[in-house]
Amino acid sequence: MEWEIVIGLEVHVQLSTQSKLFSGASTRFGAEPNTQACAVDLAMPGTLPVPNEAAFRYATLFGLAMNAGIGRRSVFERKNYFYPDLPKGYQTTQLAKPIVGAGEVEIHLEDGSSKKVRLHHAHLEEDAGKSLHEDFHGMSGIDLNRAGTPLIEIVSEPDMRSAAEAVAYLKKIHSIVTYLGISDGDMSQGSLRCDANVSVRLKGEEKLGTRTELKNINSFRFVEKAIKVEAERQIDILEDGGSILQETRLYDSDKNETRSMRSKEVANDYRYFPCPDLLPVELSEDYIDRLRGEMPELPDAKAARFREQYQLSAYDADQLTQERATADYFETLAEQCGEPKLAANWMTGELAALLNRQELTIGQSPVSAEHLAGLIARIKDGTISSKIAKQVFEAIASGEGDADTVIDKRGLKQVSDTGAIEKMVDEVIANSARQVENYRNADEDKRPKMMGYFVGQIMKASKGQANPQVINKILREKLDALL
């Protein structure tokens, strides 16, 4: 039997406003507990919410980036439930009239293919506080600093068919919100959180299978793993003749398994109703048009421009435009060194490996775009070979200075002096009687390949510093003279 996985994602994105959605308390991350929870956030009697304009502006920008309809008139509703990190006893959110309507976005997969994922809608809502379950004499501690922080909840249609597609979609959302500058998108701090609705069905079946909702998947890697392991679980049950229970499941990254959150015995009944404390919010056509005019260049447009302007491959252009900081680094580098293709290779190769190894973001890179441009310039003008350049790169990364300083200090300048190279070639030929004999007896078309041995020996003798083009030329002449 061939199974198909069907995935829809609900992504919560914390908007990077200075103040909260309904109060003037700060949203700064990492403050002492409850120092940023004011009377409105604590639901003190007599307080009233006043919505933050920036939250509407950010949500509108997001909607425009997703080619979605913008709700000219949006309405807040109360979602009623009791939990200690929600002091009001309801979450102020949107249901029937959200700020962002249906839209779509293109995702790019690693095999180079693309597909469209439809957006169902996105709405504005407030975040809850945090419950700390460490031991406070058998009680829980509540920190309400996060209560009231603005979120957009982005709900996709069930359009994804593999864990890889879900990751590509999430990366796209991450890329869009960070390009727009409406969120820092930091998953480790909870600025971007993801729930996945997962079901399976036999390939060719139209009807959707029963889905489960996976919570607590807080990194790109876990999204992929959680969906895979949940789909496997569902397939096993169905192949054994069982059925799937519609429920919420928690992903445990330590054990790489999902498990049921059985506590919700009473089915959720949120009894939504329009919030009487808040009037409908109307956005004018002018307001939306002005924001449309302020939209920055988005990842897809930037990738298209990189292919055109810098002649990059589709793969390189996608890699370099996923994050705005990476794209900015590339443009500085390409302009300074004048070699966009070399620049792209260094960024997706050595630089990406270095950042990965040291777990750094491009913004924290120990090798600046200016340094890397200096290094590429020295490859271009023949001062060093590409091989030596890797050594120089590592030295720049460990703080030994710019390319010229490192090349000078370590004496890595490439030897192009024909006299010196000629001497090395003569020595190697003199010491390789057998290989020379083989070369002479070989067919003409095999000879170029056989030169590799000599080049290797000469490179070794020069400690990698001899110019390979010069070696090749001299070696060829000398060997052919022996024929």
Binding site: N34, E53, P84, H133, L279
Partner: protein
Amino acid sequence: MSVDAQTVEKLAELARIAISEETVEEVSSRLGDVLQLVDKLQAVHTEGVAPMAHPLDAVQVLRADEVTEPNRREEFLALAPQSEQGLYLVPKVID
């Protein structure tokens, strides 16, 4: 529309209100009265009328994104029955 005892208990659970067994019947009949009024409203012909989000015919004013609230943690914590290390303490809740 009438409200049976089971519905009253479910609503009480959702609203976290304790309703003693003796009062269930009374609550059920009073809620039933309210719903009768709703039934009357339901009978009104509303086709083509947009649902009302708010009784005032006005639009929400938005505020500028500025931090205006100072830290008043100690005052607020003092109102809570229990607190520790800057946290409000509540009976343990774990899903």
